[in-house]
Subunit: 215 residues, 4 copies
């Protein structure tokens, strides 16, 4: 078997650059973060996509955001069946242990996962319906969103609407977690839905009255 | 029900700062990324912990790394049972669609998830054994690692060893995905295990002959 | 005729060192680069000078920068006369085929080509004015820059200013290529002017408001 | 007009990393290089392709190689007509001023420029025959090489043979520069032809008796 390999040299070089600059300038803060533990203000759920950096958009420093990233920034429905639920575990930790004040779901344009869901639900990607397709099964979470946008005639518009549904479905599922509903009821937690346009550098937030509007 | 809220003002301010500087300086690159799609060199699997920023350590820019973050940077065993598997879906997308050349698992010191696993496996956190504990069920992935370190006498040492096991168990599980094994066999994909010390700013990589050593 | 010779042994040794380390660690990435083609983010135009390594300064790895190097990092004016234009061909390939987002012109201190231009334009190197001097004819591209600095009294200052003019003249000529002007107009391409001090390890970028300032 | 822009922040960060590590460790050497001038042992002529790094393959440090990079590592025939000849100027400077002992022409696999030449010469890319195509006019230098490989039946083999012709044509043209012929005659200069396989990490050198063989 091909065993784990050492880190490529170019990353080692970059690490040493970071150590000599960013770390060196902030050493006391990093030491304090290690000693005192993290105390993030918000949890962010965003996509794995390499083009989406919440740390960049929000100038986030070490210690500010508890970040979960998965395909298409999805939250599955609450389902405590004893199986592995990585997203739900992250949410439980953020709310129950870290007591974050905000959960931010960040969607984005040009999302490969959402496009796969679109193709699957519209019958153009039967392979994603297979039990063995992890992507297909995962994107099934977004199927209720597809139902709400499927009648939009223009295809580009429909795909874009589905990206925003990925945020809304996740917000709905989040609200279905009992411990989240309880914290929200007590005013200790608020949910936020965002969508960013990669090419334009745009950012929209969801308001119940108006839908998604630029911030 | 308490509905989604607009984005807090301090984040709106930061976004506009990013837009006026980083985005503005790189506008053509962001447009290309949107038009041409992402082409990341590596997938990184790291923890949600707010103190761990792979984008900072490696000076990663938009487009470089496909990043999945979950509690304790864990990869569950390959199990195509048709259920939601967010981590496996992310891996399938990275390897099958994006054809990344490297998968890097990045563990870290002071990991809350790993400590929970330690307490659960040593009988000090029975609530995590409950079917309703998402964190407990998720951290169960690391139980084989606990078995390998449980006889280490010094507690701090044992907890630290378990953090590194979180990397090794994930590497083992990754190698059990058929499509990963195949790409590795063909020399198209390599796996890497890293562990970072938050307070010291240290970075170690795993070598089969020597274990974890500083880069 | 003396025919081509085998590679000197010290370079063969170094190659095998690279193969056993850097290549071996990054084999999957090199295979992908060969299969999928290059996708560089930027074109860099720098000098042939052995002391100027843009790959070192920017930690550039295989695949990141499309690099053209000529004497004094010069870009000649746009002139599609059907003759051989190596620099213009490289630019056309970078912008038209690779669709890079940035073109970076990197000048440097102690530039032999620029000093030759200074001597030629000030009448101290008549041999460079000859039709048979490739260096002289090439450095003639920088003559408009000499006109702008020739009244600086201090010689060292004047030579240094001419090095920076080599960057500015190139930026001006770049902007005169119709396909570059068009991409810039559409926000898909930006130009950057840099100058590095070899001995000090300094780096300055050109800002229209302030001229060259340290980054 | 859109004016020159400041350097993107990620490159500024990388530069500071380099300054704090590589430069800092080698400061006396960089200062000496600035004071005493460069004294490179060889000139390398390679392609602009982002995947080809002679500094990586040969572990080249600042000061070792005088490097000219253009599309397809081509040297045009000697032609002192008073026009701009960037490649010939670089060669003249390397041989006449720096008195390098070796000129190394480094070709490579998967070369976009060579493929363009193949398509043009075989009648499949008439746009490259246009006077306004800088790439087409530049690749015309390789036409004599195409004539020698055009009867190879297998297309992949033919394209690969043309990549090696790009090295051989350049060596032939180099030998036609009077000042090069003279230095070679006196045993002060030798020419070398190399070709590297990007995916395999292979390196071949040209020997008159055997053609290209692995080093």
């Amino acid at each position: 078997m091909r065993t784990p390999k050492p880190l490529p040299h170019y990353l080692i070089n970059r690490y040493h650059g970071w150590k000599a600059t960013t770390y060196s300038e902030n050493e006391p803060w990093y030491r304090r973060l290690a000693t005192d533990g993290q105390n993030p203000r918000a949890m962010v759920i965003s996509c794995c996509d390499s083009r989406v950096h919440v740390t960049s958009i929000f100038g986030a420093e070490q210690g500010e955001f508890f970040i979960h990233r998965n395909i298409a920034n999805l939250v599955p429905p609450y389902n405590p069946d004893g199986e592995y639920h990585g997203t739900s575990a992250a949410i439980e930790y953020a709310v129950g242990t870290l007591k974050v004040a905000h959960i931010i779901v960040l969607g984005h344009s040009n999302c490969g996962g959402v496009n796969g869901c679109h193709d699957m639900c519209s019958g153009h990607a039967p392979e994603l319906e297979e039990k063995t397709s992890f992507i297909g099964r995962w994107m099934d979470i977004l199927r209720p969103g597809y139902e709400r946008v499927k009648d939009i005639e223009d295809e580009a518009e429909r795909r874009s609407a589905l990206e925003k549904e990925a945020v809304l479905v996740s917000l709905e599922n989040l609200a279905g977690f009992p411990f989240i509903a309880q914290e929200m009821e007590q005013g200790m937690l608020s949910l936020h839905g965002l969508w960013t346009d990669i090419g334009e550098g745009g950012l929209e937030h969801y308001l119940p009255e108006t839908g998604f509007v630029p911030v």
